[in-house]
Symmetry: C2
Subunit: 190 residues, 2 copies
């Protein structure tokens, strides 16, 4: 594991997604890994942290999550916009070598048997809270975040440093099709 990836205090983990980035959702079950893109992931609670994520019923990632209960939410960067688009527009169900073709790099986090995507800025290890009604009715999943990490080059001491980090670290925010916006300048309200 890259030594610049540092644990994030659990009470600050929500800040990794509070600004609404598009994320990558990855899961491993019974030897199968998948990674998908998701624009609809949102913080739900601060401490202990929870989040929501919408997972289409057709996605293979969802079936792995439903089987094993675990997944990782990670925040891709401007440098990963093509990767994010590929992972969001191809299905492992239809393309068995999707991950190899996407070029996604997977690394292991100690004591976690889940696929972590290399090159992202932050990672949240999640366990689903089973709520069958909303899963079935709305494709809406609730999860506990039980650990988080960030690359210290862009997030440290509980804060993003987009204004001073290389612009390649900025998060991407999906609008539609191949159209994303990168997060931009800081705006401070005193």
């Amino acid at each position: 594991m890259d030594t610049r990836i540092k644990p994030v205090e659990l009470a600050k983990a929500y800040r990794l997604i509070n600004h609404g980035p598009t994320v990558l959702v990855s899961s491993r079950y019974a030897g199968t890994d998948d990674v998908m893109a998701a624009a609809w992931c949102c913080a739900l609670d601060v401490d202990p942290p929870k989040l929501t994520v919408v997972l289409e019923s057709t996605s293979k990632t969802r079936s792995l999550i439903e089987a094993g209960g675990e997944f990782v939410v990670q925040i891709p960067t401007v440098k990963q916009v093509e990767l994010t688009r590929y992972l969001g527009t191809h299905s492992l169900g239809e393309q068995s070598d999707k991950l190899a073709r996407s070029g996604v790099g997977i690394f292991d986090m100690p004591e976690r048997n889940q696929p972590f995507v290399a090159g992202c800025s932050g990672w949240l290890a999640c366990k689903i809270v089973r709520e069958p009604h909303i899963q079935k009715q709305y494709d809406l999943f609730i999860a506990d975040v039980d650990a988080a990490w960030a690359d210290e080059r862009v997030f440290s001491e509980g804060h993003w440093h987009f204004e001073t980090a290389d612009p390649g670290w900025r998060s991407i925010h999906h609008v539609a099709g191949g159209h994303f916006y990168a997060i931009g300048q800081p705006v401070i309200s005193d």
Copy 2:
């Protein structure tokens, strides 16, 4: 109503929030208006559009929404960062003249008896889908979006135009405290 505010096709309404902006949530019931800020609002479905929003049990806005079932989600701009912060850090329950003190401008939308915040870039008229378990357990609300509008100076033809509009129209994305990021440059994946 400002003539530059135009209806948004319902199937494109999710694009107003797909990039994860911090929003203002307003509601009116029995003659009382309130407006709060919410970072945790997320699209849930495209067509017909749905969204989720997390509403703290202590907020007066939530009690108005629970009573009347209707509310408005609107997207504030860089110019409204102080307003957003004020509305997010003061409670109508503790400060009965909160709205007057905040300086928020409210306008009427024809045939809608809800308070719409002036100066925003987009508006989504919402009706809650009653899901008592998740409302109580997680403060999580699901809503149908039954109409949407945007200011044509920054959103038209189903797309944001942050790259060409005045930078004052950019959406704001809350991190923590008084710290927001404005959405920035376009990133296109072909």
